[in-house]
């Protein structure tokens, strides 16, 4: 089931294309990029603060932190770097590598524009996908930004995408989150103030800088207008990345991708949450945990707990092994789920206990996110749990949830 890397990048748009504008015929080189979007305006730091406040832009890496607050937390001077986090470690997400591969200049415009406004001397880009790295390097050659831009390859491990793990790699260290929780805006790259955000955030900034807050707000929600990139996968006929207005109904997205609208849906990826049905859910941050914009659909003919168990095995394998409760806790939960699947009620009880012992007890959010995912599975698939404890649900595990590299 490792079709992840081979799947060609497919892009679709619901409504007005913004980030994906002009990409129908393929990758936008500098000429096509300028033809589609026009030249990038030179804005000041105050402009960026006003614009991001006006449209309530939130970071698109998963935590949905307001960009305006991140900018306000930076000191007036001495900002060391603007860091573009393109490590996209969430295994199902495709949006960031799609942007880097197809619209590299939009991402660069956002990062370079902000770096100049903040007087930061360099832009650092962390990428782990080969095609994305090649595309962004080619794009840098086409431009003259009069600014140091460096591309660094990061490992593909889940926790390697965490902001502080990315900073550690950029500094030449290991790709694991450090033990102390410090904000990159205070102590980032080489312990100096750093603006770090996700690839899509920078592309949104580039669009926002051009459109201005009024035109930017012509689509999407009032609370966070504009568009969002979603990656849809699982039991869908047309998996891929969709650009859609913020607040779009989940059912619309699923219909567009050709997914069953009566099955359970996972939103926010493998640190996300299950919904029994997509009815009435609107994809708006932060009320709905959209995370990095991942939507995974299941059909009714696969065993959902078995699917979750496969993902749990993968999540446990992705622990960096630094923190005891994550290493032992996720391992224990895999065992609990496997006993639960074979009808042992002690598996369910142990899982409930272990789910309380994992969150908040690690250097990064991997234990928290994994526990959230597993806890929501036990809650939403309560009926399936009862069937398994009574002898089994009678359905096979189809392996609809993609797991990179397969199961050990």
């Amino acid at each position: 089931m490792t079709i992840l890397q081979e799947t060609p990048l497919q892009l679709r748009v619901i409504g007005e294309p913004r980030l994906l504008a002009g990409l129908r015929e393929g990758r936008a080189d500098l000429q096509r990029h300028l033809w589609t979007h026009g030249a990038a305006p030179e804005l000041t730091r105050a402009d960026y603060a006003d614009l991001t406040t006006a449209v309530g832009l939130r970071g698109r890496g998963g935590a949905a932190f307001p960009v305006a607050l991140k900018l306000a937390d930076l000191p007036q001077r001495g900002i060391e770097a603007v860091v573009v986090n393109g490590s996209e470690s969430e295994p199902v997400s495709r949006k960031d590598r799609l942007l880097l591969t197809m619209a590299p200049h939009l991402v660069l415009d956002g990062a370079v524009g902000l770096a100049k406004a903040l007087n930061a001397p360099q832009v650092l880009i962390a990428v782990h996908d080969g095609a994305a790295a090649t595309s962004i390097r080619a794009a840098i050659q086409e431009r003259q930004d009069h600014l140091r831009i460096e591309v660094t390859d990061t490992p593909g491990r889940f926790v390697a995408g965490e902001a502080r793990a990315v900073l550690s790699v950029l500094e030449g260290g290991p790709a694991v989150p450090p033990g102390r929780r410090v904000l990159p805006t205070r102590k980032g790259y080489h312990k100096r103030p750093t603006f770090l955000s996700n690839v899509e955030t920078f592309a949104q900034l580039a669009v926002l800088a051009r459109l201005g807050s009024h035109q930017f707000s012509s689509t999407g929600l009032i609370s966070e207008p504009g568009t969002q990139l979603l990656t849809v996968d699982g039991a869908v006929q047309r998996p891929g990345v969709i650009e859609a207005p913020t607040g779009i109904p989940l059912e619309t997205v699923l219909q567009y991708a050709g997914a069953p609208t009566d099955g359970p849906v996972l939103i926010g990826g493998y640190h996300g949450q299950w919904l029994p049905r997509p009815d009435g859910i609107k994809l708006s941050r932060p009320e709905v945990p959209v995370g990095a914009g991942i939507v995974l659909a299941l059909t009714a003919d696969t065993c959902p707990l078995g699917e979750v168990h496969r993902v749990a095995q993968w999540l446990a394998s992705q622990s960096a092994g630094q923190c005891g409760p994550c290493l032992f806790g996720l391992g224990a939960l895999v065992d609990d789920f496997s006993r639960l699947l074979s009808g042992d009620p002690a598996g369910w009880h142990d899982a409930q206990r272990h789910l309380g012992l994992v969150p908040g007890r690690g250097a990064c959010a991997h234990p928290d996110g994994s526990a959230r995912f597993l806890a929501s599975a036990l809650e939403v698939f309560g009926e399936d749990v009862r069937q398994h404890l009574a002898g089994g649900c009678g359905r096979a595990v189809r392996g609809l949830l993609p797991v990179p590299g397969g199961i050990r």
Partner: protein, 86 residues
């Protein structure tokens, strides 16, 4: 009389500030190897889970407990236990 009241208020405020300095225990999970000394020294503040790693009760350390908490921090063989001020 009013001056006396004022100074009493000032003393009160200074004392409140001292007391309201909230201290909390924190664990650097990348360092903790589950030696378990902290659970022996600070039995009221934390217990060990089934794998031998500390589970914090999460409540603030009162001024009276501060000395013991500082000792436990110094005793941690992995330098994983910390006391933070908020």
């Amino acid at each position: 009389m009013s001056a006396g009241r004022h100074s009493a208020v000032a003393v009160n405020e200074a004392w409140k500030e001292e007391v309201e300095q909230v201290h909390k225990l924190e664990i650097d999970w990348t360092r903790c190897d589950g030696h378990g000394l902290c659970a022996t020294l600070l039995a009221d503040e934390l217990v060990l889970d089934e794998w031998g790693f500390p589970v914090l009760r999460g409540r603030p350390i009162t001024p009276g407990e501060l000395t013991n908490a500082r000792r436990a921090v110094l005793a941690c063989p992995a330098l994983a236990l910390r006391l933070t001020e908020q």
